[in-house]
């Protein structure tokens, strides 16, 4: 027993040493990730490369994202956008001095109980500003840790109103659930021709799903639709019963704000059952996984999203080249180079952060926080400015539909709420 204790203690010490070592080791990854990319992303970084050598110091931008767990796939795509932006612009000039920008990535495992330690890792790394997270729940769970440390956070695609409400340190660059729910309801009514019944399907216990359904229902009922809502338990894989329920309810549209892996199953089973009710979904479904599942079926699938492909060809070309040059990046994107809207948002978030640092004229988190409300930036996804709660002022969403023959998104409309 004594031997065992000694062994364990030794193990702990080794690990503790490793931990100390890693705080210096942590510095490396962003630079390493950027290295292969620099070869591919030709134009911009030649200019940036030169001053990088004589940098005045390093500024840390924390990336608080899920890389594993339920939202791991989406989180990784969002990080890709930031990594690409970092590869394009690895330095920032503050008060005439050039700083290297280092991305420190912390995995919150899509889980609220890991949120505190994941957020603390970024505080410990000395982040000036933090980007993230994919998923509103973890964003709210990590929020207090950042607030206590006085670090501003820029939410990338967390759409729940509660993320920024009542906080002075949380900002976000995407639209909100009430907006998206209304957009979806209007689209279902105006474009898909739903006049009497809409069917909503969400995951039980998932605040994202339930929140959007709530707003969709409000808006749809105001338009005179009857809304049937159902929830499926976590880990459910058989959706045939739900789809049958939708058919029996004579639904004219199915609104399913689920995460990607459930979406894939819903599409598959809807196709197998020959469901001809149009499916519509929010930004989570804007993924190449959905396209792959929808290819070759007779379904009508549309999504509302932050960015429509083709919006900025130069950006897309560069991003695709960067991903194709890096096997890990390509794998994190699901194995092909289709650009997800969340990657675009991640890319824009990085530049908003740089803009705020420039405006602050300092790498001090408090100064950056003060500069953020007045920061504006025109990114790939449109122009970004913050209102008094820290939310982006956005009044349009892009609606795309899946072309089941070619497996690509086709742009349908820009929808806004009047």
């Amino acid at each position: 027993m004594k031997k065992l204790l000694a062994l364990l203690l030794a193990l702990c010490m080794v690990l503790a040493l490793c931990a100390c070592g890693s705080s210096s080791g942590d510095a490396a990854p962003a630079a390493d990730d950027a290295a292969p990319a620099e070869d591919a992303a030709a134009p911009a970084d030649e200019a940036a490369e030169a001053p990088a050598d004589e940098a005045a110091g390093t500024i840390v931008i924390g990336v608080y994202e899920p890389l594993s767990g339920d939202n791991g796939a989406g989180g990784k795509q969002e990080v890709l956008g930031m990594q690409y932006a970092n590869a394009m612009t690895p330095t920032v000039e503050v008060n005439g001095k050039v700083y290297n920008v280092e991305l420190v990535i912390s995995d919150n495992e899509s889980s609220n109980d890991k949120a505190v330690s994941a957020a603390t890792k970024l505080v410990a790394a000395g982040a000036s500003v933090v980007l993230g997270s994919y998923g509103s729940g973890v964003s709210i769970a990590g929020s207090d840790t950042f607030a206590e440390a006085g670090i501003p956070v820029i939410g990338v695609t967390c759409t729940n109103p509660q993320v920024t409400a009542g906080n002075s340190h949380y900002f976000r660059i995407c639209f909100l659930d009430p907006f998206q729910g209304t957009v979806q309801a209007n689209y279902a009514h105006d474009e898909l021709g739903a006049a009497s019944v809409a069917y909503c399907l969400g995951q039980l216990g998932n605040d994202y799903d339930q929140g959007l359904i709530n707003y969709f229902k409000q808006a749809a009922e105001a338009l005179g639709l009857e809304v049937v809502t159902e929830s499926f338990p976590e880990g459910n894989s058989d959706f045939t019963s739900y789809l049958t329920n939708a058919k029996n309810a004579n639904a004219e549209v199915i609104f399913a704000p689920t995460s990607i892996s459930y979406a894939q199953l819903i599409i598959e089973q809807a196709a197998a059952q020959g469901i001809d009710i149009p499916l519509t979904a929010p930004d989570t479904w804007d993924s190449n996984v959905i396209l792959a599942a929808a290819e070759g079926t007779d379904l009508s699938i549309s999504v509302s999203t932050f960015y429509a492909e083709g919006g900025d060809p130069a950006f897309e070309e560069g991003f695709k080249a960067w991903m194709n040059a890096d096997a890990t990046a390509l794998a994190n994107n699901g194995g092909n180079d289709t650009i997800a809207a969340v990657s675009v948002m991640g890319y824009d978030a990085y530049y908003v952060a740089l803009e705020a640092i420039k405006n602050a004229g300092s790498i001090d988190p408090a100064a950056v926080m003060e500069a953020l409300p007045g920061t504006t930036y025109t990114g790939v996804s449109g122009s970004i400015a913050f209102d008094e709660t820290g939310d982006a002022i956005r009044d349009t969403a892009f609606i795309k539909s899946a072309d089941t023959a070619t497996g690509e998104w086709t742009f349908v409309a820009e929808q806004s709420v009047g």
Binding site: A73, K76, E230, P233, S241, T244, I260, S261, L265, A272
Partner: protein, 297 residues
């Protein structure tokens, strides 16, 4: 009655199909429990790994090689898990073995997470099984119809195997009394390995059918079917093969009928499975087909 059947046909069909797949997993649980008194928590994850192997195998190999390969790999995995994680703990307290099972389950899930990157993998379509057919008021996949038939054939084969062959007899002896059968010259390790091999073989078949029906594999794909199959095994009386099969069909059908009851009820489809289980356990504490055990002083 006919009206009810007509209206609920889609739900019943889905239930029978799910039940058949649960049954194939539940047999693995129940056989291992019968012999080792071990709840093999890793079984659901073995099922998930079988799905992943299929995804990766079909990426480079034709279907007629992939399917036997998947079955062989799954069987091998089950064998290795037993030898590495359970055999060294044969004399340890039961709780330790179970923790080892939970550990294996963690390991398999985390390895799957590492290799897939957490992205959902699309399961290949097996020609013939994925086609849609229409029966009465319901449209479904061919695999839905194949599953119960295949399940019943496999269960009959298994029961015959256990009744008629020498190793089957040894299995029955070991499950009755571990120590005595050892004294009688039964090679206990061979019997246990055989149990795992059979359990994993059926799990591999189950995974082929299940993922053809629900073609998306994520690292936690095995957790829910695994838990449900385990509940089915307890429901039917853990240790009893016909019990596990009947339990699996009952649970599969019940949960889909609950989903069909309309909004408000669907939330409780999983919870209801557990309520049903608890009620059965309270009325008959060893499950429907469980043997009554008496404590010896």
């Amino acid at each position: 009655m006919a009206g009810f059947f007509q209206a609920n046909l889609p739900y019943i069909l889905a239930g029978i199909s799910v039940g058949g797949q649960y049954a194939l997993i539940a047999i693995g649980y129940t056989m291992v429990y019968g012999i080792l008194r071990l709840i093999n928590f890793a079984h659901g994850d073995v099922f998930m790994v079988a799905g992943l192997v299929m995804v990766y195998a079909t990426a480079s190999l034709p279907m007629y090689i992939s399917i036997p390969l998947v079955i062989a790999a799954t069987v091998l995995l089950g064998f290795v898990i037993e030898r590495v994680a359970y055999k060294p703990l044969r004399s340890a307290p039961r709780m330790s073995v179970m923790i080892s099972a939970i550990g294996v389950s963690y390991l398999l899930q985390n390895c799957a997470l590492y290799f897939t990157g957490g992205l959902a993998q699309i399961y290949p379509t097996i020609p013939g099984l994925s086609k849609s057919v229409t029966i009465g008021s319901a449209t479904t996949k061919v695999v839905t119809l194949v599953t119960p038939i295949l399940t019943i054939i496999l269960v009959f084969a298994l029961v015959l195997f256990i009744r008629k062959t020498k190793i089957g007899m040894a299995m029955r002896a070991v499950s009755k009394d571990f120590e005595t059968s050892q004294l009688m010259g039964i090679r206990i390790n061979a019997v246990i390995s055989m149990t795992f091999v059979i359990g994993c073989f059926l799990a591999a078949i189950g995974s082929l059918l299940y993922f053809t029906n629900y073609p998306s594999v994520i690292p936690t794909s095995g957790a829910m079917p695994g838990l449900k199959a385990f509940v089915a095994a307890v429901f039917g009386g853990i240790g009893s093969i016909p019990g596990a099969v009947i339990g699996a069909f009952i649970i599969g059908i019940m949960e889909n009928i609950i989903k069909g009851l309309g909004s408000g009820w669907t939330i409780f489809s999983d919870a209801f499975t557990f309520v049903l289980l608890i009620v059965v356990l309270l009325v008959k504490p060893t499950g429907i087909f469980g043997e009554k055990t008496t404590d010896k002083v």
